[in-house]
């Protein structure tokens, strides 16, 4: 291509102390998240997994922001589009795919939660629920504990602009600002809360404007500019670690897919708009930037593409082959100890040999009378998959 000869005077990422290796690793993470995500949709359309909720279009902001945090030390309370964030913070493609298949070994929930509800205690990624924005308070509490214990940790909460309207967000930012907690709030603004455009959800042009109401910094970054997102997060993390308090980062991203596999976004977004949004895809933008900067070469790209394809294939095969959870485990972990439930199911307590009804009076079959499928053959039930799509079909 001849571009390398015309290398720029200032190396990309130099002012951010990022090496070429860092940049390639960041690009690899964006590409991996995209490839995993795309595979999820293929599996959904093939009837292998019932539900998909996607992060396509958000990956640049997630990788850029997460890169500024210390893995295994800091904490993240993610949300349902946080595939790239979770991958960057330590989860593997296998871990993500296990959640799609809801297998017994799924580290997010052991197959208990819908796909998209990622969490992994090994990597300080907090389990997330479906009611939106609740996790911001958890992250603020984590930050409070970090301050009290003097651990030097910073906590990050991420969500969309739609979720940012919840009252928990106000309560969280107010408290975090009062106590100057080591907390960073990332709003991934993709312009839509399912079908409702941002102008009908947020009373100001930028969610970041609300930061001033708490006396904290609020910045808007282009969410398809990975390095701009990293720079904003690095500033916020430094501020948090220095004891100066929380920050709000609003990354303007694009949602390249429907809200979920149960949504058809052409019902509320025009083809023209969708085509225009493609131009804001962070993946080709980052690729072009790194190529122009001489960081990414044909050889590196080819290697990365092969590697990513192999990882996704492995993750899919691995997750599909893993066992489903046993019904005999379904009553476990209501509490740390076995749940001494007062009213067992009439079809058996569902606790294995170590547990069971302490009174022995309900007559449940402790060996698993509910009948788990030990062969795991029900895991990929194609009819079950189709049933999860809903009447809307998928866009």
């Amino acid at each position: 291509m001849g571009r390398r000869a015309a290398a720029p005077a200032r190396r990309i990422g130099a002012e951010l102390s990022l090496t070429d290796e860092d940049l390639v690793a960041m690009y690899r993470m964006v590409a991996l998240a995209r490839a995993v995500d795309e595979r999820m949709w293929v599996l959904n359309r093939a009837g292998r997994i019932p539900f998909v909720i996607s992060g396509q279009g958000h990956e640049g902001a997630q990788v850029g922001v997460t890169w500024a945090f210390r893995k295994g030390h800091d904490w993240i309370a993610p949300f349902y589009r946080s595939i790239a964030m979770c991958l960057t913070f330590g989860m593997s493609a296998r871990d993500i795919m296990l959640a799609q298949y809801a297998k017994a070994t799924d580290p997010s929930s052991g197959g208990r939660q819908m796909p998209g509800h990622y969490g992994d205690r090994r990597h300080n990624l907090l389990s997330v629920s479906s009611p939106v924005a609740t996790q911001i308070l958890h992250a603020v509490g984590i930050a409070l504990a970090a301050k009290i214990r003097g651990t030097g940790q910073v906590a990050l909460a991420a969500m969309g602009e739609g979720s940012s309207n919840q009252g928990d967000v106000h309560e969280a930012l107010n408290f975090a600002a009062i106590h100057k907690l080591p907390f960073v709030f990332l709003v991934e603004n993709n312009g839509y809360a399912i079908s409702v455009p941002a102008a009908m959800e947020v009373s100001v042009p930028d969610v970041a404007m609300r930061a001033s109401g708490y006396g904290i910094p609020g910045v808007v970054v282009d969410g398809s500019d990975v390095l701009a997102c990293y720079a904003a997060a690095r500033t916020a993390v430094e501020r948090a670690r220095a004891g100066e308090g929380p920050s709000l980062i609003e990354a303007k991203v694009t949602r390249l897919t429907a809200h979920s596999s149960d949504d058809q976004q052409t019902r509320y977004r025009s083809e023209q708009e969708l085509a225009a949004e493609r131009a804001r895809d962070p993946l080709p933008r980052f690729r072009d930037q790194l190529r122009e900067g001489g960081v990414l070469t044909d050889a590196i790209e080819t290697t990365l593409a092969d590697e990513v394809a192999a990882i996704v294939a492995d993750a899919t095969e691995f997750a599909e082959a893993e066992p489903d959870p046993e019904p005999s485990t379904a009553m476990r972990w209501v509490f740390a100890e076995d749940w001494p439930s007062e009213t067992w199911p009439t079809w058996g307590p569902g606790i294995g040999e170590t547990g069971g009804d302490p009174t022995g009076e309900t007559g449940g079959d402790p060996t698993g009378g509910a009948g788990g499928d030990p062969t795991g053959e029900t895991g990929g039930d194609p009819t079950g998959g189709a049933g999860g799509r809903g009447s809307d079909g998928a866009g």
């Binding site: 214990r149 969280a172 740390a336 009076e361």
Partner: protein, 327 residues
Amino acid sequence: MALMTFIEAIRETLAEEMRRDGSVIVLGEDVGRKGGVFLATDGLWAEFGDARVIDTPLTESMIVGASIGAAVNGLRPVAEIQFADFIHPAFNQIVSEAARMRYRSNNAVGVPMTIRAPYGGGVHGALYHSQSVEAFFTHVPGLKIVVPSTPHDARGLLRSSIRDDDPVLFFEHKKMYRSVRGDVPGGDFLVPLGRARVTHPGSQVTVIAYGLMAHYALEAADRVAEEGISVEVVDLRTLRPLDKDTVLTSVRKTGKCLIVYEDNRFGGYGAEVAAIVAEEAFDYLDGPVTRIAGPDVPGVPYNHVLEDWFMVDPEKIAAGIRKLAAY
């Protein structure tokens, strides 16, 4: 052994637990300098300082939600909701988050958190300073619900709650704070969660109660004893997990079961106890499982005549016992 009021037992237990375990913090509205609107946390801020005794904004969802996060990251928060009536903004955090965290993470993450809340009427508190809210939460697997009735149990159960690895809601009847006294032994004794206590042995009618109603049930038992009715009173102490063994053992012995609770009758906690007794002790019953409970109006009215009408009291319980005994 020391004689102390209900609230003194709670206050001293909080202080002791904070001394024993540096990871215990207290947060809530007015819990710091003021020491709580009932003075349940009096003295803690002076002893433990700003870092561990936190006066929060008026944000119940934050109090609980941040406690969840703090619990995840190594602390044992004791959150105070100033009145149980004000716990509802935190409902989502308690029910969707705290109760489900361990289950939904397949035991990867637990929430060792205690939420204390004064509840109950009979104190001229009207609709919004009198509520009994336990039934909203006893419905939810993943929560432990404690309602002590004596200083002894308050101390032993609060210790167990703070040291438990799962979320506990600890409801304190505010009318008992200074009106109830009792002996509390020294030493680090625990009252285990999930264990009821027979507080008055008897043979003809079982009365099941908790909180303030456990006291009123004892008074009622004394009144009808003079009439020759032998009542066994069971103080549940923990509503969830329910000590089904103690309940069923008593009902199987007496053959009659009256359940007393201050909350609205319809769908109240006692309804579940009644269902369990009906299902599992049916062959032993000599009369209908009955309930004495608060009327189904949207709150405790303020005027003292109306409040007296609302409140379950020893005489109303005694009337229920007489009727059931005569069945």
